[in-house]
């Protein structure tokens, strides 16, 4: 018989849903209109991964404890199996937020599903691999379990000579773990650093003092852990008198810009911009003069930068000044189809991630793209893995790499 969970603990965990989220769960008509556009469902056809099913299951748990029947006859116990089933649904999701854009009622699903993950986390139902990731983050402050001294290895590997690690600077380049520790992204860091150097910015890295932005902790459901990481990073940046934080990672950008104020209950003293916004500004101002590439370049909007971050036009404006043939992918901008690289799906279900990325790569091939660009290290990794798995002939570059290349820096 499946074990029943401690009622008080369950009730406490279920109380985490905010007013808006409760309203959303109660309003969800389970119309399934979100389903076909959900990359996890579309590429698996597993009902449990459909957003509407997740909503039903979450509401069932809430109603077992706080529904009308529970009020009149007492709460119904929740079994560990039910939490495991909800965890399976919650983590087989890229948290891309596409369901928000298809929901007729406009539910802010990214936050809702993150809340479900937090619920699962608090009820100890997190998937084993996600639990390992959470553990590694708490021990090493990065999701790869690597030592902090290795945060600057990318500079050695790429041969960057002018590395700035200062006590005070106007601009901080927040590299992010997936850029700093994953070889496929080292040249992204190199490109951003080189452009900052070329423009003579007063910039710095946090180096060993940089902790993970906290995004993977939030995605794992560990809100408290994310808050601790946010406090550390903000403190480190404010102590250096930083006015602007630039990051090339869509996940770091979203968390810094949109989640840190919520986690900390205040706005940090610095401004946060994504590297593509910085690049666009400098290109528009004529401070950077790249050669125009003659090739068909497609841009994949990272979900966390576009739909969930609010940056859609800046990379396109930059790309129009870098390449002659900017081609649009079929589902783009606010309606972007996720590449599969987000939401810790790699840890939860890598096969599903690869099948999602294959669909996106196929779309890029269909529009005749020779180079597929993005502005997120997780997207780049997903595309690189997808190309390896499907032997697709397309070059994958970060917008910043393409810029550095056209500026003769890479």
């Amino acid at each position: 018989m499946a074990s029943k969970l401690d009622t008080e603990k369950v009730r406490e965990a279920l109380r985490r849903f905010t007013r808006r989220q409760m309203m959303e769960l109660d309003t969800c008509a389970h119309c399934a209109l979100c389903t076909e556009n959900c990359p996890a469902y579309a590429d698996s056809k597993i009902p449990n991964y459909a957003p509407g099913v997740r909503s039903s299951k979450t509401l069932r748990l809430i109603n077992k404890q706080f529904g009308l029947r529970a009020r009149l006859l007492g709460p119904n116990p929740i079994k560990a199996d039910e939490v495991a089933d909800l965890a399976d649904s919650a983590f087989n999701c890229t948290l891309c937020g596409r369901c928000m854009e298809t929901c007729p009622f406009g539910f802010q699903t990214h936050e809702l599903w993150t809340g479900v993950r937090c619920l699962v986390y608090e009820l100890d139902g997190t998937l084993p691999r996600v639990k390992m990731l959470d553990q590694m983050l708490r021990e090493t402050q990065n999701p790869y379990g690597l030592q902090a001294e290795m945060r600057l290895d990318w500079a050695d590997y790429t041969g960057l000579e002018d590395v700035h690690v200062k006590d005070r600077a106007d601009v901080a380049y927040f590299v992010g773990c997936t850029t700093a520790f994953k070889g496929a992204n080292h040249e992204v860091a190199y490109s951003i650093a080189s452009i900052l150097n070329q423009l003579g910015e007063d910039w710095t890295l946090l180096a060993e003092d940089e902790w993970c932005c906290g995004s993977p902790l939030l995605l794992a459901g560990n809100e408290e852990g994310a808050r601790e990481f946010a406090e550390h990073n903000v403190e480190a940046l404010e102590a250096r008198g930083v006015k602007t934080v630039i990051t090339g990672c869509a996940g770091c950008f979203r968390v810094f810009k949109w989640e840190y104020p919520k986690l900390l209950g205040r706005r940090p003293s610095f401004k946060v911009i994504h590297a593509v916004e910085y690049l666009r500004d400098k290109l528009v101002a004529g401070e950077l003069k790249p050669d125009l590439l003659r090739a068909n370049v497609a841009y994949h909007d990272p979900c966390e930068l576009s739909r969930l971050g609010g940056v859609i036009e800046a990379p396109r404006e930059a790309l129009r000044r870098l390449a002659q043939g900017l081609v649009e992918l079929p589902e783009h901008g606010i309606d972007v189809r996720c590449c599969g690289g987000g939401g810790l799906l790699q840890a939860a279900n890598n096969d599903l991630r690869l099948s999602i990325v294959k669909r996106r790569l196929d779309q890029a091939v269909e529009v005749g793209a020779e180079i597929l660009t993005s502005a997120c290290p997780a997207c780049k990794l997903a595309f690189v893995d997808g190309i390896r798995a499907s032997r697709c002939e397309i070059e994958v570059l970060d917008v910043m790499e393409l810029a550095a290349r056209q500026l003769g820096l890479l």
């Binding site: 109380r15 985490r16 849903f17 905010t18 007013r19 808006r20 989220q21 409760m22 309203m23 959303e24 109660d26 309003t27 969800c28 008509a29 389970h30 119309c31 399934a32 209109l33 389903t35 076909e36 556009n37 469902y41 056809k45 009902p47 459909a50 509407g52 099913v53 039903s56 299951k57 509401l59 069932r60 706080f66 009308l68 928000m100 854009e101 298809t102 929901c103 007729p104 009622f105 406009g106 539910f107 802010q108 949109w258 104020p261 919520k262 209950g265 739909r307 971050g309 609010g310 859609i312 606010i334 309606d335």
Partner: protein, 244 residues
């Protein structure tokens, strides 16, 4: 037997409306308490009224997002809501909110169309779209969705109510009074004025199911009639906050 039927029919008209209103208000209060007792959302920038109104119009009135996702479903849902709105509007005439004479300046045939022809078509459209939505839900069940019992109950209750309402229209009336026939639900507050006295069984069962439906609104997904407007407004405001 007749006295029992008379008792029930009288009950549906004279007593049940009070119970319906009480249950509806209680349900609404319970629902509001449930939402308000949840933690507040983290502080956000101010609600953008312009964006909220814009997305209420686009998403609640025109079902923009459904149109983007699935044109066929959009058509069914749009027609379903048009029919629902039309039927609701039609009922308002019985409560003297509007009258056929208001359309008379547009021509006698327009007024007749508004009160005789259109309601019948709206009724069929309403029933047909509900059946399509019910079939869709059954077909998608276990493949794409895991409906809660109340998802079905709401739809079935509405379907029964509308079939009974349509029955009243298509079956011959019981009588045509010289003046309007008044059905007093709540004296001085809710009085229905009928030009034709419909078949009593259809009429009283329609009244019963309509009230069951109204009672059920705050306890079911039908709450989206109200909350869907709020969530769409919040979505619109978020887009504005994010510069989208």
């Amino acid at each position: 037997m007749n006295s029992l039927i008379t008792f029930f029919y009288t009950f549906f008209v004279e007593k049940l409306p009070y119970i319906t209103i009480a249950i509806f208000l209680l349900g609404a209060a319970l629902r509001a308490t449930r939402w308000m007792s949840a933690p507040k959302d983290p502080e956000k920038s101010q609600i953008s009224v312009t964006a909220a109104v814009k997305y209420i119009i686009l998403d609640v009135v025109f079902f923009r997002k459904t149109f983007k996702s699935d044109k066929v479903i959009w058509l069914i849902i749009f027609l379903f809501h048009i029919a629902a709105g039309g039927i609701l509007f039609g009922h308002m005439r019985g409560f003297h909110i509007w009258s056929a004479e208001m359309f008379a300046p547009l021509g006698e045939w327009v007024a007749e169309f508004m009160v005789e022809t259109l309601p019948v078509y709206m009724g069929w459209l309403f029933i047909a779209t509900q059946i399509l939505l019910l079939i869709r839900r059954v077909l998608l069940e276990d493949r794409r969705l895991a409906s809660l019992p109340n998802d079905y109950l709401a739809l079935i209750l509405l379907l029964i109510t509308s079939i009974l309402g349509q029955g009243m229209r298509i079956f011959p009336p019981e009588a045509i009074p010289t003046h309007t026939y008044s059905v007093v639900f709540i004296p001085g507050l809710i009085v229905l004025h009928l030009e034709k006295v419909p078949s009593f069984h259809w009429f009283f069962l329609h009244i019963l199911f309509t009230q069951l439906f109204i009672m059920y609104i705050p306890f079911s997904k039908l709450v989206h009639i109200f909350s869907g407007v709020i969530t769409s407004a919040l979505y619109g405001s978020r887009r504005s906050e994010y510069g989208l």
